[in-house]
Symmetry: C2
Subunit: 231 residues, 2 copies
């Protein structure tokens, strides 16, 4: 029941990105990946080609693969697309949730709150993403589910780049009300809540400051120490 090496790599990278362990701009060397997953470079290359097709990885010729760095314009497009898709998902999920679905979502909200209190950002992001993806699952449209999966992934990169540390995640009371509306089958309200929820998330972004650090291992280690004299 084991996955192909290619899928393993793809999923590992997607997981890492969705938990912000892999920041935008990180180089994904072929050698490093083939060592890590104990496979040949051919598999690594196919995995990177897949990720590039999903716009999660950027492939620069003769330079290698890098985690995509979304521009402000891309960020706007992505959130606009998310609203369109999640509104549709909300409309089709409304009243379709099973008892298990509702239980999962309520548990998920608590899990996210706990992670936030504990300062465990990866767990918080993972929970938040699972919340949105579960509703997509309830809606029962695999195409929209896949699109949303890609968009949440890229959203995480955007939050990592343009979020003033802290406002990066969803407001939990909004998730609460979404589940209420979903369970009650109040379609119009659910759609409105989903739309507003995403608008709030987008409003928390700040594109004025530079996109943080492009980074490389060397720079990450060289940055902390300040110049001894001068200023």
């Amino acid at each position: 029941m084991k996955d192909s090496p290619e899928n393993q790599i793809v999923n590992a990278i997607l997981d890492a990105i969705s938990e912000q362990r892999l920041p935008a701009g990180t180089k994904l060397g072929e050698q490093a990946l083939s060592d890590l997953f104990a496979c040949n470079r051919a598999n690594v290359r196919r995995a990177l080609a897949s990720l590039a097709a999903q716009q999660v990885v950027e492939l620069r010729p003769n330079r290698g693969a890098f985690v995509m760095t979304p521009s402000p314009k891309e960020a706007r497009d992505i959130f606009q697309a998310r609203r369109a898709i999640e509104r549709t998902i909300a409309r089709h999920a409304s009243g379709q949730a099973s008892a298990e679905d509702i239980a999962f979502l309520r548990g998920n909200i608590q899990e996210e709150a706990k992670a936030r209190k504990a300062g465990d950002k990866p767990a918080e992001l993972r929970a938040s993403r699972q919340f949105h993806m579960r509703i997509a699952y309830i809606a029962g449209n695999l195409v929209l589910e896949r699109f949303l999966s890609e968009l949440t992934m890229r959203s995480t990169l955007i939050l990592g780049l343009y979020s003033p540390t802290g406002s990066s995640s969803c407001a939990e009371d909004e998730h609460d009300r979404i589940v209420d509306a979903l369970e009650a089958g109040k379609t119009d309200e659910l759609v409105r809540l989903a739309d507003e929820h995403l608008r709030h998330l987008e409003e928390g972004l700040n594109f004025d400051e530079p996109p943080a650090a492009p980074m490389s291992l060397r720079e990450q280690l060289a940055a902390p120490r300040k110049p001894p004299a001068a200023e």
Copy 2:
């Protein structure tokens, strides 16, 4: 200014599918492709991996790559997603079209009509697809544009499988009215027209009969001649 071999292959296959020259289920052999595009198999494999990530090609382990054969359920999901995305696109394109855009669209409608009369199905499909994609371009959201590109591609495969030959394309008068509403900036009407247009397209599908032919070169050549005796 030439593309990488990988992009060449990807674009050639996408073009062929979008004009129904490559029907669903067609095998895409690595050797055949590397011969055709005068490149090594490594490039072919990356191209196929990209196409698989876009759900346009199915990758069966140890069997090879095949043009995706959408199931009825997938067909429904795809058209549902298309409506959601094209409605959003219509809303954002409304009133944003330049004079060139309008001229292109009107010219495109004539082109499609001409191709239909001439019985040139590939040209008709190409024109129809360009119509939808141009409106996506006007809307100015690259993410939605890419999603729609994928969905129109898969729609073409669906039409090839489940369309009772003839009703396979868009009604041209609908395209006409869409351009009118787009030019006039009548947003609500435009969105309604776009939605109805896609519903009509979907209503023309017939899932009762078997998905046509799975086919292989040999079967295609063997089928026409009937058994001489017996029955």
